[in-house]
């Protein structure tokens, strides 16, 4: 009944927690770059690619968006070895995160691409650019600019979702919290502190993404 909060009990574990935080940050960073890259490719394929490529990406996007991340992670980590693809915990975590964000960003960026006025594409084409040049130089940047807020939110959602990788024992921030509370039996303190760390991370990332947006898209 009279449980006393003692956050001081976390102090001896700061190193462990920091390592977990670092893993989460690196995991998020790398899978963001890879996932958004995948999303750009997917959006290009869906709008300008051959029909079969478009269809492949539709199926990919719908499969990922309509299943839980934890199931995707388990499928990759436990299921794929049955097909001969054995991945370490970290590799599985990176792959699952990238595939997950890739699907969402394909959809988000595609919406941005379709919002670019057709006249801009025609203007590019009539300047003798190929459709891929038009995509790279005219459409992509405008599309990214339009959907940057949505993409930023999705990146943060995926970062928060990454806490699930602790369930395959990838040593992220949540894994560290589990470890700490199993040692000092201070579950509430450990999870609350780590929840706040995630919140801080989310706030910092939001600010950074906004800054990146301003750098990438000046003049508006």
């Amino acid at each position: 009944m009279t449980y006393k909060l003692q956050f001081g009990e976390l102090l001896p574990y700061m190193g462990v927690l920091f390592e977990g935080l670092l893993f989460t940050v690196v995991l998020t960073l790398i899978s963001t770059v890879a996932g958004v890259g995948l999303g750009i490719g997917g959006a290009a394929a869906r709008t300008f690619g051959p029909p079969w490529a478009g269809r492949v990406f539709v199926i990919y996007v719908e499969l990922i968006r309509n299943t839980p991340f934890i199931v995707q992670l388990f499928f990759i980590y436990f299921g794929l070895p049955a097909l001969g693809l054995k991945l370490s915990e970290s590799q599985a975590a990176f792959l699952a995160m990238t595939i997950n964000l890739g699907a969402y960003s394909t959809e988000i960026i595609r919406a941005g691409v379709e919002a670019v006025p057709k006249g801009h594409i025609e203007a590019g084409v009539s300047l003798a650019m190929t459709k891929w040049e038009v995509f790279a130089h005219i459409i992509l940047k405008q599309a990214l600019q339009k959907i940057w807020p949505a993409l930023s939110s999705q990146i943060i959602i995926v970062m928060l979702g990454s806490s699930v990788v602790s369930q395959i024992s990838a040593e992220d921030l949540t894994y560290a919290a589990n470890f700490v509370q199993s040692r000092n039996f201070r579950a509430f303190e450990a999870y609350f502190a780590v929840a706040l760390a995630y919140l801080g991370l989310a706030i910092v990332m939001r600010a950074m993404l906004r800054g990146i947006g301003r750098l990438m898209f000046p003049g508006h």
């Binding site: 300047l127 003798a128 130089h137 005219i138 940047k141 600019q145």
Partner: protein
């Protein structure tokens, strides 16, 4: 040989025939003004000339190259055919100068310094040297359209297509764009312009084309046609007494 040679071009959207056999010659240095009612196929014809639209029969040759030819390199063709649109279609994420230099850099692989000189030259041509660093959203409609002209000119096309380039502008901004076009005409650039500015067509044009029901219904020297239209359709269109 005419620079642009259009022979009996037919074009349908589905079951609707929009161009019903258009024939037209445009010589080097011509300023051809195309007039006609909305829906008569003016835009469609222009868009066929640079391959934005395909046509079902007939032929369009630009500088001796058939637009719809199987071996035709559309990229090569479009370097020779510039286009300016009613809605400007400037790239909003690029400055005026960057709008002008994008295609030269990407398509012609023009170097950075040369591209900068090119931007200066082209923006000067349209009287916007001081706006090089501005984004389209920071420019008036007339200024945006002049940048769009500079952008098309930067590819040094052999012929420039203009589709109602003053129709989206507020009335007080129309003249600054027309003056730029007039200057280009004097420099001898071959122009094909769809326009509703009859005075301009009469004064600057070297050739007037009246499109009606998917055909080049009447053509000839602007002054002569305006003063003495031969067909009742043109007479009615320009509001001349019968």
């Amino acid at each position: 040989m005419p620079l642009v040679d259009i022979r009996d071009v037919r074009k349908s959207y589905g079951a609707v025939e929009v161009l019903k056999g258009v024939s037209l010659d445009i010589a080097q240095g011509d300023v051809a003004a195309i007039i006609g009612r909305s829906g008569s196929g003016k835009s469609t014809l222009l868009r066929c000339i640079n391959g934005l639209e395909t046509y079902q029969s007939g032929s369009i040759c630009v500088d001796g190259v058939e637009v719809a030819g199987e071996k035709t390199n559309l990229r090569e063709l479009r370097r020779n055919v510039g286009m300016v649109f009613q809605q400007f279609n400037l790239f909003p994420h690029l400055t005026a100068a960057q709008n002008v230099t994008l295609a030269p850099k990407v398509v012609n692989k023009t170097g950075e310094t040369q591209a900068m000189d090119l931007a200066k030259e082209m923006l000067a041509k349209v009287g916007l040297s001081d706006k090089a660093g501005n984004y389209p959203s920071q420019l008036s409609g007339g200024q945006q359209q002049r940048v769009a002209i500079a952008r098309a000119l930067a590819m040094r096309p052999k012929v420039l297509l203009c589709d109602e380039i003053t129709s989206a502008l507020d009335p007080e901004l129309v003249n600054e764009v027309l003056r730029v076009v007039e200057r280009l005409a004097k420099e001898g650039i071959t122009l094909i312009l769809v326009t509703h500015e009859m005075r301009f067509a009469r004064d600057v044009g070297t050739k007037l084309v009246f499109m009606h029901a998917g055909k080049a219904h009447e053509e000839g020297p602007p002054k002569a046609l305006f003063d003495a239209p031969r067909t009742p359709e043109l007479r009615q269109f320009i509001g001349a007494p019968a």
